[in-house]
Amino acid sequence: MQEWANQLCENRQFGSKMTDSKYFTTTKKGEIFELKAELNSDKKEKKKEAVKKVIASMTVGKDVSALFPDVVNCMQTDNLELKKLVYLYLMNYAKSQPDMAIMAVNTFVKDCEDPNPLIRALAVRTMGCIRVDKITEYLCEPLRKCLKDEDPYVRKTAAVCVAKLHDINAQLVEDQGFLDTLKDLISDSNPMVVANAVAALSEIAESHPNSNLLDLNPQTINKLLTALNECTEWGQIFILDCLANYTPRDDRESQSICERVTPRLSHANSAVVLSAVKVLMKFMEMLPKDLDYYGTLLKKLAPPLVTLLSAEPELQYVALRNINLIVQRRPEILKHEMKVFFVKYNDPIYVKLEKLDIMIRLASQANIAQVLAELKEYATEVDVDFVRKAVRAIGRCAIKVEQSAERCVSTLLDLIQTKVNYVVQEAIVVIKDIFRKYPNKYESVIATLCENLDSLDEPEARAAMIWIVGEYAERIDNADELLESFLEGFHDESTQVQLQLLTAIVKLFLKKPTETQELVQQVLSLATQDSDNPDLRDRGYIYWRLLSTDPVAAKEVVLAEKPLISEETDLIEPTLLEELICHIGTLASVYHKPPSAFVEGSRGVQHKRLPGSAGSGESVESPDTGSAAGVSEAPPAVIPSQGDLLGDLLNLDLTPPTTTGPPPPSSGMQMGAMDLLGGGLDSLMGDESEPLGGDLGGSPAMGAGFGAPPAAMPASFTAPVSGGLDDLFDLGGGVGMPMGAYSPPKTVWLPAMKAKGLEISGTFARRAGVIQMEMTLTNKAMSVMTDFAIQFNRNSFGLAPAGPLQVLTPLSPNQSIEVTLPLNTVGPVMKMEPLNNLQVAVKNNIDVFYFSCQYPISMLFVEDGKMERQVFLATWKDIPNDNESQFQIKDCHLNSDAASNKLQGSNIFTIAKRTVEGQDMLYQSMKLTNGIWVLAELRVQAGNPNYTISLKCRAPEVSQCVFQSYEAVLKN
């Protein structure tokens, strides 16, 4: 944990000449020779002076290794200061002179038995720092003695020495049984010794992730908690960090540990406070929320977190980065503390930026006025990065707190009036988001925005402005002129501007087709002919085909209703957030990256997770992400901010989930395009002309393929659309219907014995968005059956027959008939047990029969169940953890892409995919016919047939059924 070298360096200006510094000044040629003579002098004082000179030379980087034997000779002295200097020299040069280092062994061994404990400790401390294999074996005996030394000072030094030795030769440490001795020291009577033993064990355990080295059980925990009260501040940190790795057995144990840790929040050392916060944040997960103590604990956390902001700036920075995580995990803790995050003029820039971030997270209706006043103040500062972020923050406030939107917009307009270039650009970028969030509300400001068109030189601002012009083309009189002005330098623009311009002009064309034909042709040809950017070209072709084949569909796609943008941005993805909470105070929490992303050799180390909450009862299994060679490096998995979303929309290659991409246009395609150029105008105008390319997609495919997803105009980025795209290029598939929804095989619902000879077997299926009950009716009786009718009892999702049971002909003995009954979900609702139980009554001319059957809940997953990413994140966070349940799917041998495709067939949509350490995490959503959303995180690990699935839903009772559906879909 705390393994770091410490170095002190400085800006050297001028030399100086006083006391010790005189040793630094000798630079003559015969220096080594002279020193040699002095080192061998009889006079103690002279010897000491000589050693000092040697060390001084060493310090400034001169090579004095040649003096090794002479310095070692000075080792046998009873002068402690001299001894320390010689030891220092040894630590530095032993590695380069391993053979000679052996010469020192005897003295070490002897010193380890010196009556003076300072010398014993010094010897054992130094020996551990000499990283020479040959020496280590001689170290074992002295170390063993020192671990049992009567003086705690020696024992605590020896404890650390075990960790040092383990670093050099782990096997040796294990063989010699030092680990057990170290474990025994946890029960030592002296708190310093306990603390160092804990530190050493934690350190060793880190390189042996699977060993049960720190065998934490309630007894050891108790010992640690006792030592916590007595040891030094640093020892307290070691112990707290170690405690954080423990998972209490139940909520009562969790609470009792919390109670004993909370006093640490009053420690003056910020690091102690943060480590205590880590333990509390983690163990709090296990406490039931209705417990009084839970509320008390939440209240206790706020003041110390606020006080951390009075620490030194670097510590403030660490604290702020951590508060950022804490606020995301438990917003309630600091919701009333907005003011303390107000930026001070003299805060360092890194503190300012972090405070700003937290201010936005805490912004709410209650404090928005103050926040906005502050942000406006910041936006007139001079530091560019800070100002930009402040402007962006104003936009985020508008989106987050609806009541403030108007005020935010007018603040932004004020800022645009300042004409400070980067302020204007930043403001335009955020105004675009505000338009998205509140369509048709603030368009009056467009005129002001257009005035600033010329000053925009940053791609993001240009793209945002172009988007605005395209989106509101019908209200901007000279929209065509404005867009045309951008077109002149088309090839000098960045990709995001090009893509946006393409889309905007197509929008313009769809809105004002008569005046803008030329413009749209121009941009399409620029995009498809003159660009070598595949994304741009592909999008160009897509628009072109859409326009040429079915302008109505084109309108539906390009001018589709946009999904809402979510309030929260820059949220850290939930699993990563959980992991980071377990790393509070460490570098990981500062970088907001998992340790595996920046520490070499940490692969295969377990990812830490928060313990499950008391309610769910499911034990959380830490994913064992050990093996898996050739894993892709985990990207810093921060979900893109709103700003990036635009990029996402624009950049096809950012598309995370599916792997299916459209085949690159072949040369035949190019030909088609050429043809289009010639005769395409008619088709652009909407005439039903024959598509030119032979294999161009027909309109029905378009409609179906593009219509389904709720996603906006750049139709190519949602998963189901890829299918639609394929259809575009290959008409063979026919209608772009979501195929392959899973349907279980038929089972016997009503045996003949129970129904006077009528046997019914059946299943459910969802075909083309319609739920169907598919039945086989068999007459096993002796007489003819007629007059069939069917009725459902009330059920959980209001399933009801959409029409009468169509058995037209009488059913003769030994005859079977297949019947398909379409269902709807508008029937009366009553909660059933199990949830997916359906009670059916079937009547014929003989009698009425009752049976019950269970339908797979996946039948109820609707086609537009794909949640927008940002919404997904916000929803995931919003749903309380108690509603989360975890399941294991065993023996499934699909890889994640195959699984994702398969699930999609059943309207389980993958929204994002992340790969960490060979483990794929699929984030999925589905929507039930009654509007209930279910969010899922599916973990798939290469080579491991067991999947883990976490489901979150506001109606947690559906989870079990959803899980069953997953299992059924994946295994069939």
């Binding site: 650390v160 960790a163 670097e314 890194y350 920046f598």
Partner: protein, 421 residues
Amino acid sequence: MAQISKIFNLHVLICRNYKGDVDMAEIDHFMPLLMQHEEEGLICPVMSHGSVHFMWIKHSNLYLVATTNKNSNASLVYSFLYKLVEVFTEYFKELEEESIQDNFVVVYELLDELMDFGFPQTTDSKILQEYITQEGAKLEVAKTKVPTTVTNAVSWRSEGIKYKKNEVFIDVIESINVLVNANGSVMSSDIVGSIKLKTMLSGMPELRLGLNDRVLFALTGRDKGKTVVMEDVKFHQCVRLSRFESDRTISFIPPDGESELMSYRINTHVKPLIWIESVIEKFSHSRVEIMVKAKGQFKKQSVANNVEVRVPVPSDADSPKFKTSTGNAKYVPEKNLVVWTIKSFPGGKEFLMRAHFGLPSVENDEMEGKPPITVKFEIPYFTVSGIQVRYMKIIEKSGYQALPWVRYITQSGDYQLRTNV
């Protein structure tokens, strides 16, 4: 923000490699990295180069840099670096290049004692001074045994301390932090209090400090007199935290000499003790006119001492002229400030200062920030929060009588008033 930094010939002054897992040469990347960040205006206390992470602080012209390649506890690292500064400062008075060079032997010794294998050890400089001293001659005798304090549960006080007269001095110091907006509304205000001890007591005394803490009063069912709600309390290592947590008793064995026993924060709305109204009018290309009114918003009996009102002026201002109703105004061009000093400022009084500066006709096109007006002051015999030391019980087994002395001071902390210009 970024200033032009002078180019120094960086060199490593002293270095202690505790673990051997980070290459010593890595530090060579530090300075270029820092300069690069500075140029981009994005200095950050954590920087990384390859797999090595640098955590640094700056003290006068020294950089103290910790390097690691693991997921280290960052808050521990910074706490430790500041502790290093504290220990070195106590040892050498000033921590700077010269003092390190002059004492490199002791510095090495200290680095060894302060941290082992990356684990901070004993960092209490009073205790360290018992066995790591600067004069070699004295060492021989003193160093023959480890002070038990090093590993004791009481790691901050040695045994056998003797004083002829047993006394303890208690300073209650409250700093007022205020942030006032340009329109005169108080954006945020809080009180950061600190109780400092100067202990001159023999033996191992047990001390108990009684404050008019509202939580304590509520616990004990007493409700007489004024009480104070402390938002967050931080204690010196010596205070028994679990005891405080359970019954709010502040009990401890004090370190010898000077120490900060505790600090607290009070979040109540404080009326700014010295209120400033300012009118700053900038006439481009010609002049700046400043009018500042300062008002003492505290009791008439109290007096604020050494009041300094610091008013920012444009960096290209020249030919200052001042007029004050009391005190002295001075132009400090290197800080772009007018400093108005009032030695003694009685409560309820109001003073005025006018300043006039010329501005060059060619304007400085660099954008300047809007630094706030800041105020410094000190008001003795008074605390804003009304906190009081009710008692200090001192019990030592020898049974001596000891006298506690209490002193109260209120002073300015981070006291900023934003301006319109």
